[in-house]
């Protein structure tokens, strides 16, 4: 599998500016009864959508969005990779939030979905712009470290390791890890519990 270089994501946005959205809400546990990730996209935010007909994921005007705009501690809770998989298969190709839970952030990077952060006031401005005009194009620019929309540009943060991996196209960590098999064996040989705790 060859990775592609991801330097920017362009598209319309879907605003969901709430805090502490957990992965059970992104994809309820009953949809994890599966052996592939296929078909998860249609169940993204299933229960929230059922309980709120006005939920952004129910609104036709946000259909086809590529950039999810959300709040603080997004993706907290379970480690289920099904959560970013569901968003990605729904059509999300980048996420802009105030902050992320760490396992979720790592899962996004592993799938080639940039998850960048913006200051809260800029997130609120971005949300207002998208609410006013859902057709507005958003650019998440990893090289420039910015999110742009209309006349606006805001500074976006992204962990340097994720930025490097996505821009270089080397977010397939499996290949990188495999490449060091000799070093893995050398390290293992120095670990006490793998060698009788230093016995003869």
């Amino acid at each position: 599998m060859s990775d592609s270089q991801i330097t920017n994501v362009r598209g319309t946005a879907i605003p969901l500016l709430l805090d502490d959205i957990d992965t059970d809400r992104i994809i309820p546990a009953r949809f994890l009864r599966c052996v592939t990730f296929d078909g998860l996209g249609e169940h993204a935010f299933e229960d929230d959508r059922q309980q709120d007909t006005g939920h952004p994921f129910n609104q036709e005007r946000f259909a086809g969005a590529a950039v999810l705009v959300t709040g603080r501690n997004f993706g907290c809770g379970s480690s289920r990779e099904h959560a970013p998989q569901a968003l990605m298969r729904w059509g999300v190709r980048a996420i802009v939030a105030e902050s992320y839970a760490e396992i979720f952030f790592g899962n996004c990077t592993a799938l080639g979905v940039p998850a960048v952060t913006l200051e809260r006031d800029r997130l609120e401005e971005l949300t207002a712009s998208v609410e006013a005009d859902p057709s507005i194009e958003i650019t998440v620019d990893l090289e420039a470290g910015s999110v742009g929309w209309g006349e606006q540009t805001a500074t976006a943060e992204l962990a340097e390791s994720a930025r490097t991996a996505l821009i270089s196209g080397e977010w397939d960590f499996l290949s990188q890890l495999l490449a060091n098999s000799e070093a893995i064996r050398e390290t293992a040989a120095t670990i006490p519990y793998l060698s009788g705790f230093g016995g003869a």
Partner: protein, 479 residues
């Protein structure tokens, strides 16, 4: 003895010592390639990982350092195969097939060692001080109770560890959380971690590993330490740990995966040498007064939204402006009134179980409350032991009879109603007193179901009274 790490007299903390010991090198992204000493696998987050290996023609690098079990999807009453739920049956068949094909030992339902993955690892002695341990499950932080670096990972990472026994990780900072003093009667490990998350917030730990230290943790047994470390993730921390001590060593002595004889002596010496030294430095320090911690109950939709059992449900205006929308959403979803005491809140369901609180000491504490009493009319009450071994030990002590006579259902080991990927679910807007770890919207299987997190003893008390109760009141009534 080969002792390549700093001793406890040094200025290093356990996390840094163990991290450096397992560092293979630096990746092009700047992340650390970290060697993983133990990999635990379950049925929900592994099928796609095995498929990734198949796609690339890869095998499992260290099958002998990999163990699989089944817990999330299994029914806790009728376990006859095929399962009534065809999707669950498909997942069960998949892990059975995958473990045979890739040469991994699987503790299936017919194995007396089967149980919740975070109960089984410690029980078998696989979880040891100074190791790195991963599992495709956020509550892997549980294993930090032994002084391990224990990390929950996603499915792509499960594939990476299967194939390479390593992981790409950014090194977190380390925050020491000292809880001083001693806990009052009726206050348990669950209350300690709920109090920590209430104070530091559900995202307060992002970027950190938590070291739990101080007299309260010194006094805890290993199961109590597991309860605290289990919910580190609910506080946003990447992992949590307690330094190994004499209790850790004694717990491990004689367990199946633990060495014996002279090798055990060498192991114990190494384990104890790993503990953060008196001069160890940390990126952040927090001190909490353990004597002030009350039995704690959540009122909202994340584990940080909690109060002491003597307190009232907060109002939106009690919070900073940026918190208020979330608080209002939580109060509305829960249907709770600001200003009302949490004590007396009626419940429909009581659940004792989960990787947080399903071990023998948890069941003993709950049984002590339930003994000689009856579950309130109209309350559905379940006790789900964390593993077949826990069930067997509890039955040997007669705890199952105490629960059954009190009107609790005594079930088979599994994750059950903690996340309801199996037949155990809330119905409609039921309110559940639960010893589990998450009160997220819909977490217990009904999209509108509601969860009040508390200790197992508090769940038992709520089941008996039919409403949230200060367990200390029942203890007084009995004495």
């Amino acid at each position: 003895m080969n002792q390549p790490t700093a001793s406890s007299s040094g200025s290093r903390n356990l996390f840094d010592t163990v991290w450096d010991q397992h560092t293979v090198g630096e990746l092009p992204s700047g992340q650390t390639q970290l060697f993983i000493g133990q990999h635990l696998v379950h049925e929900v987050t592994s099928p796609q990982a095995f498929e990734m290996l198949r796609d690339r023609g890869l095998g499992v690098m260290c099958p002998d350092r990999t163990l699989a079990t089944v817990d999330h999807i299994i029914p806790t009453d009728d376990q006859a195969r095929p399962f009534a739920d065809g999707l669950a049956e498909e997942m069960m068949s998949a892990i059975e097939r995958n473990c045979v094909e890739f040469g991994i030992e699987l503790l299936g339902l017919d194995d007396p060692r089967q149980g919740i993955v975070h109960v089984v690892g410690p029980e078998l002695g696989l979880t040891q001080p100074g190791i790195t341990l991963v599992c495709g499950d956020s509550h892997t932080s549980t294993h930090g109770a032994f002084g391990a670096i224990a990390l929950g990972i996603g499915t792509s990472q499960v594939a990476q560890v299967l194939a390479t026994q390593t992981l790409a990780m950014n090194r977190p900072q380390v925050r020491r959380i000292e809880v001083t003093g001693s806990l009052s009667d009726g206050v348990f490990a669950k209350d300690v971690i709920l109090a920590i998350i209430r104070q530091l917030g559900v995202q307060g730990g992002v970027g950190f590993a938590y070291e739990y230290t101080g007299n309260v943790f010194d006094e805890m047994n290993m199961e109590e330490r597991m309860t605290v470390c289990n919910m580190s993730i609910e506080g946003g921390a990447r992992c949590g740990y307690v330094n190994p001590d004499a209790k850790t060593v004694e717990f491990l002595r004689g367990l199946p995966a633990v060495p014996e004889g002279e090798e055990f002596q060498r192991a114990a010496e190494w384990w104890l040498s790993l503990a953060s030294g008196p001069q160890a430095t940390f990126d952040d320090d927090v001190t909490i007064d353990g004597t002030a911690i009350e039995p704690t109950v959540t009122w909202g939709i994340n584990p940080g939204q909690s109060v002491g059992v003597g307190e009232s449900i907060p109002a939106v205006g009690d919070y900073e402006v940026e918190e208020q929308a979330g608080v209002a959403e939580a109060l509305e979803f829960m249907g709770l009134e600001s200003g009302n005491p949490i004590r007396g809140q009626a419940i429909d369901v009581a659940f004792i179980g989960s990787c947080t609180n399903s071990r023998l000491s948890d069941l003993r504490e709950a049984a002590a409350v339930a003994s000689g009493r009856r579950v309130s009319d109209g309350v559905r009450a379940l006790v789900v032991p964390g593993s077949q071994q826990v069930a067997e030990q509890a039955e040997a002590e007669g705890l199952d009879r105490i629960f059954s006579e009190a009107g609790f259902q005594w079930r088979a080991a599994g994750c059950s109603m903690c996340l309801a990927m199996n037949p155990d679910k809330l119905q409609g807007r039921e309110m559940c007193a639960s010893s589990s770890n998450r009160n997220f919207k819909g977490r217990q299987g009904s999209p509108t179901g509601r969860t009040l997190l508390m200790s197992p003893a508090m769940v038992a008390a709520a089941a008996i009274q039919g409403h949230v109760t200060d367990v200390r009141d029942l203890a007084e009534a009995a004495s």
